[in-house]
Symmetry: C2
Subunit: 309 residues, 2 copies
Amino acid sequence: MYDLIVIGGGPAGLCAAIYAARKQIKTLLLSKDIGGQVSTTLGIENYLGYQFIEGPELIEKFQDQIRQFPIDQEIGRAVLRVERHNDTFDVVCEDGSSFQARTAIYAAGKRPRRLNVPGEAEFAGRGVTYCAICDGPVFAGQKVAVIGGGNSGVSATLDMVKISEHVHLVSITPLTADPVLVNQLTGAPNLTIHTGYQTRRIEGKEFVESIVVQDLKTGEERRLEVGGVLIEIGLVPNSDPVKHLLKLNQWGEVPITPGCATEVPGFFAAGDVTDVPEKQIVVAAGEGAKAALQSHRYLQRLQKQAVAV
Amino acid sequence: MYDLIVIGGGPAGLCAAIYAARKQIKTLLLSKDIGGQVSTTLGIENYLGYQFIEGPELIEKFQDQIRQFPIDQEIGRAVLRVERHNDTFDVVCEDGSSFQARTAIYAAGKRPRRLNVPGEAEFAGRGVTYCAICDGPVFAGQKVAVIGGGNSGVSATLDMVKISEHVHLVSITPLTADPVLVNQLTGAPNLTIHTGYQTRRIEGKEFVESIVVQDLKTGEERRLEVGGVLIEIGLVPNSDPVKHLLKLNQWGEVPITPGCATEVPGFFAAGDVTDVPEKQIVVAAGEGAKAALQSHRYLQRLQKQAVAV
């Protein structure tokens, strides 16, 4: 039985674990990985304290810091479901293991949104990727499609036009990325922009060979020959394990108070999985610190009540 | 006329300025100093990304990062009053200068609380200090009084018993510091703890020579001969310059939404001066980032409205 289980190994979870350990709370850090989205981020220029640092290097620094403290770690376990029995939280993992604590901080982050089209799951890792930054260079010299007209789609396109034979940028809507990014697309000779087009299916034999997109006005379908499909259509919160425990907002995020409390007493949440207004590394870290300090206060109140009884 | 004036040079203000600059907002950073309370903090072990760093070194890193961006800076000016005229904020400084912007982020932090007793102002810097960490070593070998029984008072006492001839710890209430700190006081041979005592006056000729404390039960006064008075009775928000602009909470803090908005449209606030539930460096940094991104959204909405008109 732990005092606190921190679920998630991104900046929110790691910062929460450090703050909890410094308050001498008996803490378990439980996560399928360490680093979360930061692991797949290249240059970071907006984490206060580092002029420039690569994502994996920043995570390495976070990990070094974690190791200073006596924090139990269960890394490599994906959480299936968080249950509440009386005053105990039971965290059940996909591998059947489970862990118990008096309080929990849910900091499970977000994951890339799927297109949900035929061929997508089949060709994942064989031409289909959700991380242009990690996998883009694999497609150097090839024709690729980037799906998504927001900031991450347009950023990926800007990277890919430099190294690909040809880039098809496919977006259902007009491009919604910041003008400063969209302007940089101008004049790329190896770029075709398809706005108002929806991706219908991904095809190939062993690897991706083409995608079929549909003109949303005319209904006409077009086949684009590509060896890579970089899907950048946003992120969804990893909130399934808690959706029966509390009410999520319309985007599937966990609503929190400014002190990271949820509607369930003793159950706190922090970072990108919550409705915090901005999703940033330094914001998630700050939220994790708040969640840990507030869970400490909660545990102190529990203790006082126990003494009073 | 700036798009944004960031008021305050602590972690909240510096992080806000970086985020604003990255959004290409025309930004002025206005502060009486750089670093805020971090400048006078010794070892920091809980800023995510640094296992251990001294306050001034961390601030140096923040400053290096600020210098990468084209941010105008007015450092050394204390803000007297923030006024709102139509859709413009007018920031008036104590030296009579003033600066205008469409939005502002108020991140002026906190300052040490005063005792408000005779002799306190007179002997400031001549035996009276509000920063045990900065000035404690000056009193090595002397008798000192530490005023305040919370975490910072007890921490200061623990530092001073190692180097002082004798330490008087004076607190109106029983000691309220964390038990882990209070326990460490046990057995110090050169320590006298006066709980239930109020400090009434500070006396001396050129420098502090004694303080007079009063037993709150009996009314009896005692004179303690000391060469130093370390006052550690908490912090108060630097909210005077905005108290006529918006309604402060009962502690004098600026109430904010989770997105760092205040009741005044276009006027945001971040960090220790606000009612954010925890006052921590990493929390303040995260709040500064949120405030900058939200002020960017606000400016975008202003721009769209202008186009629509």
